[in-house]
């Protein structure tokens, strides 16, 4: 198939299939808001919180689904209303046991992360929601088509876009506070900033972002989506503001590119492609950074 034919394929897809259009919109929205906190997470040495929280989401999703099946109610996708509060609570617990008891934070995260992943997978095998277990696991863990099926549910689209916008607005409003408690929490607390409150706000935002991002790249790859754009931006830029803006742009571009590639070529599962594009851009920026530093 020539490249032009593939482009035609792309045009055909977006012209005729609403789910693809919506998926792109939601994908961009999620990529936008999820990269905002990447810098903070990386610098607080909490890069893996994305992973831990997404495993918690995964675990709680399957448990809730199993329970729901037992009662005979509910569809898998509706679980966001359960998953979000549970993830938020875990996020708060993790972040608040954080910087001053670093070891406790690390092992708590490890326990939670792997434990819920195991239980989630166990439940999925004991209470399968469909015959095709492998596909379900694939979708939840790697996000092969999650965002695309999401695109077919208008209410989910609006919910996700709404949450993304809300997260972004909160981030902008609390930007200076987030900077202060990330750079030097002790100083902030000492000079009268309510660090604990802001840490909690941070925890809530992170949880929302993780739950959203899981729909784009799946539970196992969430860390990559949140953290890679920030790391990429940090290769080249020197101020917090520049890094934040750059990571947002990188994230949106990579996710869009990933979705387009997945639509043009066969056998490219969405989550992995987006992460792969992120990695490639990271490599490019690393080289640019090296060159700039030598020059």
């Amino acid at each position: 198939m020539s490249f032009n034919e593939r482009l035609d394929q792309l045009v055909y897809l977006f012209q005729n299939f609403a789910f693809a259009r919506y998926a792109l919109i939601v994908g961009v929205a999620i990529a936008f808001c999820s990269s905002l906190l990447g810098v903070t997470l990386v610098l607080k040495r909490l890069s893996f919180i994305g992973s831990g929280l997404s495993h918690v989401s995964f675990g709680s999703t399957t448990i809730v689904a199993a329970v729901a099946m037992g009662i005979g109610v509910e569809n898998f996708q509706n679980n966001i209303f359960w998953v979000l509060p549970i993830t938020i609570l875990c996020s708060i617990w993790l972040l608040l046991s954080g910087p001053h008891s670093k070891i406790k934070g690390d092992s708590a995260l490890a326990m939670l992360s792997v434990g819920t992943l195991a239980i989630g997978y166990l439940f999925m095998n004991i209470f399968p929601r469909s015959a095709n277990l492998a596909a379900d696991v694939c979708t939840v863990l790697f996000g092969s088509t999650a965002i695309l099926t999401l695109g077919s549910k208008t209410w989910m689209v609006w919910l996700c876009v709404g949450l993304s916008v809300a997260v972004s607005v909160v981030f902008v409003l609390f930007y200076n506070k987030i900077f202060a408690i990330t750079f030097d929490e002790d100083f902030a607390a000492a000079t009268g900033i309510k660090a604990k409150v802001y840490n909690m706000i941070l925890a809530v935002i992170i949880a929302v972002i993780i739950v959203l991002a899981m729909n784009l790249v799946g539970a196992l790859l969430v860390s990559a989506l949140v953290v890679f754009p920030a790391l990429t931006a940090m290769r080249v830029f020197k101020s917090f503001r520049a890094v934040t803006i750059c990571s947002v742009i990188v994230s949106v571009v990579c996710s869009t590119f990933g979705i387009l590639l997945s639509a043009m070529y066969d056998n490219l599962p969405l989550g992995s492609v987006i992460v792969a594009v992120n990695i490639a851009v990271f490599a490019v920026f690393s080289i640019i950074g090296l060159v700039l530093r030598r020059g």
């Binding site: 040495r45 200076n176 202060a180 002790d186 000492a190 000079t191 101020s239």
Partner: protein, 222 residues
Amino acid sequence: MAQLTCSKLTAGYEGKAVVKNISFAVNAGDYLCIVGENGSGKSTLMKTLLRLKSPMSGKIEAGDGLHLNEIGYLPQQTVIQKDFPASVREVVLSGCLNGCGLRPFYNRKEKKLAAENMEKLGITNLAKRCYRELSGGQQQRTLLARALCATRKILLLDEPTAGLDPVATAEMYDLIAELNKSGTSIIMISHDIANAVKYASHILHIGGQTMQFYGEVAKYEL
């Protein structure tokens, strides 16, 4: 009334007292140096003064028009800071945060204050530079400028010359002395007793989990 009064303070963490029965008072314009062996509890004491830790017993009182959030702080460097992408200006500005309340952005007055403090500490030319690329001395001056943005009244400094070369150390002490002369009270932790005695007005010596000496520097015997 003194700006900061400590009465029979016992401080520690996780139920273990590290220093007991500390009493002192800092008046406006004082320069208090807290000295003692490594691990004698000086940092714990300072953190308690800053309300980062709760005192196990005893009282800390602010007076003379000082509010407890008008205290500037220069902490020891934490690991995070070293590779943080932040410009000097962003770091210094963050000292103004305690005056912002819920306001999301810094106003012109605060930006002016930050510029003045950078000027005062001679780092205006570094404003756009990345904090992590600075030398130890430059980083300390940035953090000091930040502390000044938080307040003019009283500064608490935790080992401000740790890791600095002799030239930078001397410069730092000079800077702090100048600030003190222009009216800022200083409480500084240092294990550099020679310099402490040279610049300070009062000494608090901590040893054996308690106060070994508190008083004017002239009365302090090494």
